[in-house]
């Protein structure tokens, strides 16, 4: 998987929002949310909130975090660290690359700092 999986065009992800990529594509346990911040950068986290069952791809992306659409727990876009109840468990961040406007995902690999 040296080249990653092409999962989306960058333009398909509105700034401040996300899209979910099915586990059928990523081969991971959970779907993966591609989340685009206000600066236009895109990040990848496991899609299901660690609290209940909400999709983080439907969350609100701002200030380096995604806010869960159900109960507003926040997760760090870079690391997946939880910041705020009711969720108490961190989620998983995945590495991705953007090349020529296309998003390539490396499921299961830690993002590069």
């Amino acid at each position: 998987m040296a080249a990653g999986i092409r999962v989306a065009a960058l333009d398909d992800i509105p700034e401040g929002e996300g899209v979910a990529v099915s586990r059928d594509v990523t081969g991971t346990e959970d779907d993966i949310a591609l989340l685009r911040d206000e600066d236009g950068r895109v990040w990848a986290l496991n899609d299901t909130c660690t609290h209940e069952t909400a999709s983080l791809a439907e969350g609100w992306v701002e200030n380096g975090h995604v806010e869960c659409p159900l109960h507003s727990s926040k997760f760090c876009l870079k690391t997946g660290a939880v910041n705020g109840l009711p969720a108490t468990k961190d989620t998983v961040a995945h590495r991705l690359e953007v090349r020529e406007g296309e998003v390539y995902l490396f499921p299961g690999e830690h993002p590069v700092e």
Partner: protein, 411 residues
């Protein structure tokens, strides 16, 4: 920081746990003792939803995982009951019913409240007989769950948030449910009349009978209850009654040690009570000259403000109050304050009720006061920021479902 380098928090609901959490994240190095009546602190919103339905157990609704207490050096004492607190000039003594006591620099009262029971003839006897339920604690939900078998007849007294959530769960488990509330629709003050009417009508579509009435009398009857609803010619028979008409703050510890109490332990904007060594947070507390905000996030913010007071740190930023609720597969959220339209106030609707995400907004003098949304969390997150930043809003753009609310934040 004080003679003992210790804070004792009485009560393990969201306000108490938030206090402990914010003390540590704010750099408090002393001991934190958290005394809870339960085995461990758990989250209460699921008690009327997934926990009541049996879809999540107590471990799954724990407010923090077990290892958190050791990691954060929070000494969890429970199940335990506090008998008294004695605040003095230099410290506070907190005595448990088993005789153990703690000395601390500060006590934080996070004692919550209990369900209010209206003074209805026969209701007390029926409660004694186990036929009248409330929902505040996990044990309450455990007892109610046992009743909610298919075809069980349940009367829900009160059509507010808790009543509606529990009724929704009950009907999903096959119970036959009647909701009685004197207001038609309930919740109009919180969400606006039109939104309240739509939300209340969801019950009928789910097979629940809604009655605009109050419970006048109750009689125990051979394993069930006979309920007289005002204006009805005959009593009705139910297997159980759930009362959801609000809460009474638990202020006994505060009253007993002479703190000022008036429908809650009175606090200032830093959660300080009338004694400098005692703070109060969550449902037990009431900000002087204000109504209590009995919502989950408000209790959490109380805890954060109490921690800031103890740490002598700046309080967290003020933000418009936010809440959520779930009924009949719809997720409802609100932020700020809703008002009925008048000369200065406009109520704007966005989207079509029932067919897509939709929301309602109260606007006064070009500023957003509040919003309520069904199945549209983004609308509420945008609205909250519009309120907090006092951004001038154009009602026509808010009403246009094609307009991106987030763009309004850029002014």
């Amino acid at each position: 920081m004080g003679a003992h380098d210790r804070v004792v928090i009485v009560g393990g609901g969201i306000a108490g746990v938030a206090t402990a959490s914010a003390l540590r994240s704010g750099g408090y190095h002393g001991d934190i003792v958290l005394i809870d009546r339960a085995e461990f602190p758990y989250d209460r919103p699921p008690l009327s939803k997934d926990y009541l339905a049996g879809r999540r157990d107590l471990e799954q609704i724990a407010l923090q995982p077990p290892e958190w207490y050791a990691e954060q050096r929070v000494d969890l004492v429970g199940p335990a009951e506090v008998a008294s607190i004695s605040p003095g000039d230099d410290d506070v003594a907190i005595t448990l019913t088993d005789g153990r006591d703690h000395r601390a620099d500060w006590a934080v009262l996070a004692t919550g409240g209990r369900a209010a029971l209206p003074p209805v003839p026969g209701l007390g006897d029926a409660r004694q007989a186990g036929l009248v339920h409330v929902l505040r604690e996990a044990e309450d939900a455990d007892r109610l769950r046992e009743v909610l078998v298919p075809s069980a007849a349940l009367l829900v007294v009160g059509g507010g948030l808790i009543g509606a959530e529990a009724a929704s769960t009950a009907v999903s488990l096959g119970a036959e449910v009647v909701i009685a509330d004197p207001l038609d629709p309930p919740l109009a003050a919180a969400v606006g009349r039109e939104m309240a009417a739509w939300l209340h009508a969801l019950h009928a579509r789910a097979g629940i009978e809604t009655v605009t009435s109050v419970l006048e009398a109750v009689q125990v009857d051979d394993g069930g209850v006979l309920a007289q609803l005002r204006g009805e010619p005959q009593v009705r028979r139910f297997d159980a009654i759930l009362v959801g008409v609000g809460m009474v703050p638990s202020t006994e510890l505060a009253s007993a040690c002479g703190l000022e109490v008036d429908r809650g332990v009175l606090v200032d904007a830093q959660q300080r009570t009338s004694h400098p060594r005692v703070l109060a947070v969550g449902d037990a507390a009431r900000l002087r000259d204000h109504h209590r905000t009995e919502h989950w996030e408000a209790a959490q913010h109380d805890g954060q403000r109490a921690a800031a007071s103890i740490l002598d740190a700046p309080p967290p930023a003020e933000t418009a109050g936010w809440w959520w609720s779930d009924r009949h597969q719809h997720h409802v959220e609100g932020v700020g304050t809703m008002r009925e339209p008048d000369a200065q106030t406009t109520v704007v609707h966005r989207g079509t009720r029932g067919t897509e995400p939709f929301s309602a907004y109260t606007i006064r003098a070009g500023r957003l006061l509040g919003a309520v949304a069904v199945d549209d969390p983004h609308a509420i997150r945008a609205a909250r920021r519009l309120i907090d930043r006092q951004i001038e809003v154009d009602p026509d753009r808010i009403a246009d479902p094609a307009a991106d609310l987030r763009k309004l934040l850029r002014g």
